[in-house]
């Protein structure tokens, strides 16, 4: 029997029970779409994380206290913590750096004239912040070391905050209240927009020491600096900068070199760590999607077995009329493959469409992985052959006499 005619016969078999064929295909559609969407989601997440990390600023080194494993027992003392003084020490002593900074954020209400902005992100930071973040002042000036040393109540506004409070008026020199404390505006930042989850333009910047004094409580370690951001002058000097910082901090905190109580993390190491996390994430999603494809395949096998049983008499008749076992096998194998390939095709459309839709609706970022389309479609084809083979072989092995006798 020619392939074309076998295809025709197989197609007739499928259209015999359209609803059932469609439902069977649905398993494959979902599986294939899942593979494509899952890969697009994980690629999107990966790209977004990389973007966020890069947006922190160029050649960034993060310095943070190490977590001690032993806990706080008697004689162990308090683990070393970073302080405002460490920032100045690094700024003064370490060479080949663009800037040093730290951040402590608190949400407070902000009042100016009759306008109140609720829960504005108040970022306590230092003079090095614009260099570290590659973020410039549009009007006035940024915070200075003096502001921090003297705990002056001065504030630099994000672009949108300035617009909202003062519109076309100049903000510099105005005064406003953060919670119940009065501050003087000394500068406005240029627009920077939203990067990652941070809307830079909707924040305001005040001296770090003022945050410690007014908004966080020194008693509970509220004056601890959690992270010091050091921006190296270039990629090449990062190792040098890290060793300088390490030596300096050991001296500052009198810790020994073997257990310097500080960790240093670079963007590269974060990106690498993220990459392995997202890879694990992607593998997990891949497996879930792959399993749903297999489940779809089992659905096909199941329905093909039912179909073979239902059509036993037809198989017997075809055999009597001259169908060889291999003709029967091919007919049912093609039916299974058609189910899975149609499922694959619709699944590809649903997966690609779904990926775009997630992006367009802003639900989550997805980056369609081009290789996922042939991968998913090929997997569907393999599923069709694999799960179609057993029912088709069973059909081919039917004894025509028995089959014809079946009611």
């Amino acid at each position: 029997m020619s392939l074309r005619r076998t295809l025709q016969v197989a197609w007739e078999g499928l259209t015999l029970n359209k609803a059932r064929s469609f439902l069977t295909t649905l398993g494959v559609i979902i599986g294939v779409a899942a593979v494509i969407v899952m890969l697009a989601v994980s690629a999107g997440a990966e790209a977004e994380i990389a973007e966020q990390i890069n947006s922190l600023g160029p050649n960034l080194i993060l310095v943070m206290p190490a977590f001690t494993r032993g806990g706080f027992g008697p004689g162990m003392g308090r683990p070393p913590s970073l302080s405002y003084d460490d920032i100045s020490a690094i700024a003064q002593n370490v060479t080949n750096i663009n800037g040093v900074s730290a951040e402590q954020t608190t949400d407070q209400n902000l009042k100016a004239g009759g306008v109140t902005l609720e829960d504005v992100s108040i970022v306590g930071t230092t003079a090095g912040f614009p260099d570290v973040r590659d973020y410039r002042v549009a009007e006035g000036r940024f915070l200075t070391d003096n502001d921090n040393d003297e705990t002056l109540k001065v504030v630099v506004l994000g672009y949108d905050v300035a617009q909202e409070l003062y519109g076309e008026q100049s903000a510099v020199g105005q005064s406003l209240k953060i919670a119940s404390t009065k501050f003087t505006v000394v500068g406005v930042m240029e627009p920077k927009g939203v990067i990652g989850n941070t809307d830079y333009d909707a924040r305001v910047y005040i001296p770090l020491t003022v945050v410690f004094k007014k908004f966080t409580h020194a008693r509970f370690g509220g004056d601890d600096v959690r992270t010091i951001y050091v921006s190296a002058a270039s990629r090449e000097v990062m190792d040098d900068v890290m060793s300088q910082v390490s030596t300096l901090l050991q001296k500052q905190h009198s810790t020994d070199a073997t257990s310097s109580g500080f960790n240093m993390i670079t963007q590269d190491s974060i990106i690498n760590a993220q990459a392995s996390t997202t890879e694990a994430f992607r593998n997990l999603l891949g497996w879930v999607a792959g399993i749903s494809l297999v489940v779809g395949g089992i659905g096909i096998m199941n329905i093909m077995l039912v179909s073979v049983t239902e059509r036993t008499r037809e198989i017997g008749l075809r055999q009597a009329l001259g169908a060889r076992p291999r003709d029967v096998q091919l007919q049912f194998l093609l039916e299974a493959m058609m189910l899975s390939l149609i499922g694959g095709l619709v699944g590809v459309m649903a997966g690609v469409g779904g990926s775009y839709l997630f992006n367009a609706l802003g639900t989550m970022r997805t980056d369609l992985v081009p290789a996922s389309v042939p991968l998913a479609f090929g997997a569907a084809a393999v599923v069709g052959i694999f799960f179609g083979y057993y029912p088709a072989t069973r059909a081919a092995r039917l004894d025509p006499i028995e089959a014809l006798r079946r009611e």
Partner: protein
């Protein structure tokens, strides 16, 4: 090619289910001439179904030989047997065995699908099916599905299907078993016409009135031929 279309020699069939072996055929020898119309009769369990299955190349004998049209088909592979069924044998079943989703013409075309030697176009296949349907008197029913046809008409479609590959022999298994008297008579008239046109026909029946249409009646009992007689009264019609 000799005068005999079918020659069976010492044909035996043993079915073994577990420890019990059932001897369905116990050494049957017979010959059917070209153009002959033979009826096979016998009580149930006499081996007539087994004999028909072997004659139809649906089953292979345990021992003995079956020569069809000069070729020993008793030891052929399944694939070769399928080819023999397709080209040389036309089946007519008691329950018609039409595919309900296909039109009469498409049902008749089915054997052509499996015909490896002829490469007819779809159109040629269709025209041939229509021609055969016309020859059995169903020229105006080619586009009807089986459920739109009467029992007698369905059996005519089945006969057309049996004829389409121009087989050496037509094997009919109780062709009138599901039909009323009127329709049975019409079908037997049609079978008779085929015989008149030169077809070789072997028919199983348990109705003596139907067997009357044949030239020769073979009577089986316990897997052996109990009697094999020429039917003097054959070709008489309207006896039902």
């Amino acid at each position: 090619m000799g005068e005999n279309l079918i020659e069976i020699t010492e044909l035996a069939k043993v079915y073994s289910t577990g420890e019990i072996a059932v001897q369905a055929l116990r050494g049957i020898s017979a010959a059917v001439k070209r153009g002959e119309f033979v009826a096979v009769m016998g009580p149930s369990g006499s081996g007539k179904s087994t004999l028909m299955n072997i004659l139809g190349c649906l089953d292979r004998p345990t021992s003995g030989t079956y020569v069809l049209d000069g070729e020993d088909v008793s030891r052929l592979s399944k694939d070769r047997l399928a080819g023999v069924r397709n080209r040389r044998i036309g089946f007519v079943f008691q329950s018609y065995n039409l595919l309900p989703r296909l039109t009469a013409a498409k049902n008749v075309m089915l054997p052509l699908l499996y015909n490896g030697h002829q490469h007819l176009s779809d159109k040629e296949c269709y025209e041939r099916a229509v021609a055969v349907l016309e020859s059995v008197g169903l020229g105006d029913r080619t586009q009807h599905r089986p459920n739109e046809l009467s029992g007698g008409q369905q059996q005519r479609v089945a006969i057309a299907r049996a004829l389409i590959n121009d087989p050496s022999i037509i094997l009919a298994d109780e062709p009138t078993g599901n039909l009323d008297t009127q329709a049975s008579e019409e079908i037997m008239d049609l079978v008779h016409q085929l015989h008149d046109r030169g077809s070789t026909i072997v028919m199983v029946t348990h109705e003596p009135g139907i067997a009357e249409y044949a030239q020769r009646v073979i009577y089986l009992r316990d897997g052996q031929i109990a009697s094999d007689r020429q039917n003097g009264k054959s070709r008489k019609r309207g006896k039902l």
